[in-house]
């Protein structure tokens, strides 16, 4: 080897590889999508939606008031009569058409979602949009088989569904709500989050392109007030909400005694349990995916890492080394792993809870990444020395912040994992199948992932225990929320 000097290699810097913005055509302003047409809000109210990575205003969007919501519910009520009377196989045709159009517009929808939400294009392109299409395909398949779903031979739809969705997976949450509702024969009034309305509005255009009858899907944009009006409207038969636990509690109070059916998918503080006999390299990937996917703005995020004491030091060393390779920056760059936080308000909330972690004596480690000058950003952060008493172990941070706790025995792992008011998801990492099953059976969480995390499939029901809500979305079980059973 005389000719080759053993010197270490040079840094391999990836050149910027931004996805083209030309894929989207964002209008200066958008109205409300009611009865198959875009219309202005009755009182002319608007809000601005911004790109959280640059703080650039993307568009002005109408704010629906009580009168607009009333118009939307009336349109949905009118459409319900004929939509619910269609044979399931006919409804399926529309849903299949929507699913195909979503695939055809895949790149555009991914770019739009990334611009409005701040999530990396790799996630919107490889995760969000394919799952959206998959959900429509899945429920299109159910539309003519409702009698075989386990809810009686001829289950009936409920009526008009009021649906309020969050900003973390705008189009995916829309799909989770609209696809089963339409398959079962309901009509919907959906209120997207105020910071991420654009993909829902583009979806409205796709409904028109698919020839969906007017009034079957109505999109009323706005903020909290609009959401309240949608939920409280007396002619709504069913309310479905995904979002924070405090708002979920408010909705329960609003709906109480009205006879409206209700499903809620709320917050979480998931435990990700790593046993000492886990496949550690994969566990590290699972921890990273669990808490840094979508900047940790995921209700089922694995925000509490419970690691067995005998491997804790090793896992932390491997984890921090791995976090050093995460690429934070322009969400449109195809090589970005960590994008922007969705809003200034959310960034403040993350900062406050991180400050609480510091004040309570946990040890903070921050990934070495450069933070862009403009926009809302928070670097991947790990707290060690966290105990169950710390706020960062109990409260949902909804950001790229991992709290690390340790345990000694499987029983202790389960006890700590369940010791939270939430119960949405959990993860178990072990190469021993029996131990994985033993643990999963004892975890009070709607979803338990084994040797993986944040894996979604339209055939798999998703939902919570305790303060994480009730009702299931996805799969056969997800139909129940939209059938009169």
């Amino acid at each position: 080897m005389s000719s080759l000097s053993p010197t270490p290699g040079k840094a391999f810097d990836y050149a910027p590889a931004p996805e083209s913005r030309a894929a989207v055509d964002i209008a200066a302003s958008y109205g409300l999508f009611i009865d198959g047409k875009f219309t202005e809000a009755a009182d002319g109210g608007t809000l601005k939606t911004v790109n959280p990575a640059t703080e650039e205003v993307l568009a002005e969007v109408a704010v629906g008031g009580a009168a607009d919501v009333d118009r939307a519910v009336k349109a949905a009520r009118k459409a319900f009569k004929s939509w619910s009377a269609l044979p399931g196989s006919e409804r399926a045709k529309y849903l299949f058409r929507i699913a195909r159009l979503i695939q055809e517009h895949g790149r555009e929808l991914a770019v739009l979602e990334t611009l409005d939400n701040g999530k990396p294009i790799r996630e919107s392109r490889d995760s969000d949009v394919p799952l959206v299409a998959a959900h429509f395909f899945h429920y299109a398949g159910w539309a003519d088989k409702l009698g075989h779903a386990g809810f009686g031979p001829d289950p009936k739809p409920i009526g008009v569904a009021a649906q309020v969705i969050p900003w973390n997976f705008p189009l995916l949450m829309l799909a989770w709500k609209i696809a089963p509702a339409l398959a079962a024969g309901n009509t919907v009034v959906l209120k997207p989050a105020e910071t991420t309305p654009l993909s829902a509005l583009r979806f409205a255009e796709i409904c028109v392109e698919a020839g969906l009858p007017a009034g079957v899907v109505n999109i009323v944009t706005g903020a909290g007030e609009t959401g309240r009006a949608v939920v409280a409207h007396p002619d709504v038969d069913k309310v479905a909400f995904t979002g924070s636990t405090p708002v979920g509690k408010e909705i329960i109070r609003t709906v109480a005694g009205t006879g409206k059916k209700l499903t809620l998918e709320l917050g979480g503080k998931a435990a990700n349990i790593v046993y000492d006999d886990a496949a550690l390299d994969s566990a590290i990937e699972g921890i990273v995916n669990g808490i840094f996917f979508n900047q940790g703005q995921v209700c089922c995020a694995g925000s509490r890492l419970l690691v067995q004491e005998s491997v804790a030091e090793q896992v932390l060393e491997m984890l921090t080394r791995r976090l050093g390779t995460l690429r934070l920056g322009d969400p449109l760059d195809k090589n970005t792993d960590v994008g922007a936080i969705n809003s200034a308000a959310q960034l403040d909330r993350i900062k406050n809870l991180v400050a609480a972690g510091d004040a309570e004596g946990a040890e903070r480690w921050t990934a070495p990444c450069e933070i862009p000058a403009k926009g809302f950003w928070f670097p991947p952060t790990v707290f060690t020395g966290v105990t169950q008493a710390h706020r960062i172990a109990r409260e949902e941070i909804f950001g790229p912040v991992l709290s690390v706790l340790t345990f000694r025995t499987p029983a202790e792992a389960v006890e700590k994992a369940n010791n939270t008011p939430y119960g949405l998801s959990a993860g178990v990492w072990t190469e021993k199948g029996a131990k994985a099953l033993w643990t999963a059976q004892r975890l009070r969480a709607g979803v338990v992932w084994t040797n993986t995390f944040n894996r979604f499939d339209p055939a798999s029901p998703f939902g919570g225990f305790k303060e994480s809500g009730f009702g299931r979305e996805g799969g056969r079980q997800g139909l129940e929320a939209y059938l009169d059973v």
Binding site: M1, T325, K334
Partner: protein, 316 residues
Amino acid sequence: MLSAFPADPAEVTSSEAALSRFLHGLPGIDKVGAESRAAMLGTRSIKKDAKAFAIDLAISMIDLTTLEGADTPGKVRALCAKALHPDPSAPDAPRPAAICVYPDLVGIAKEALGKAPVNVASVATAFPSGRAALDIKLADVAQAVQAGADEIDMVIDRGAFLSGRYQQVFDEIVAVKAACGSAHLKVILETGELSTYDNVRRASWLAMLAGADFIKTSTGKVGTNATLPVTLIMMEAVRDFRAATGRQIGVKPAGGIRTTKDAIKYLVLVNETAGPDWLTPDWFRLGASSLLNDLLMQRQKLATGRYSGPDYVTVD
């Protein structure tokens, strides 16, 4: 990683039982997890300057290989000429790291390459099956070394490995290493025959403990050759081995890597698994033959903006 690794590596190789305990005590590998990690790294988008950097780096890492029964001195000389002048239209194109041939053609290759900074690597030890007595394998190695080979690519005895006779595999590698003298030893695990990722990790550690300078995926002679997930496991192994022992080992995926796109995926995987310390021909090689021309065509395209096609690179 492997904080439990003993301070003296001789401890784990002191007996067959100790070796077996150690190899079976390595953390397991989750197949789904490893494959999805490799697939994710495959989505990295390498453009412009980064692409130019990666293409030249990949060319400089190639072990330009001909391992056919039909190989002749003329074929080997032509391959050496290709290594010396990879792209006659672009004298700045880097040269591959080595020429890889059978032992009886090492002398021809040495002569053809002269003093140029291109190594000669020779497969040996009854390549590709490894099914011969140890003295035959050592004689094979000795012949290649005597003819001037700078690097020896040996194969492990997969039969012994799969039946749990780790000590035998270990001892063979130690013996081959001794026979190599100053030549560098690459140990071919033939991962396509090991069937599980856990076995790939165990075989990697076994080879490293026995004194391998490089661990290599494949002979190119079985159905499954180098894959990204297998290379991921091996990069993790060399990374962890250096952390445990301070000794750096190289990695060489071989077989089936034909396009620039593939080669860049491997470089990204190296970069984000073991780190840029491995991004040099000293520590990472690509065993390939047709890959070189694809890299050269992409290189021409970056330089001229046009894709000129296969008749503008030489076929040897």
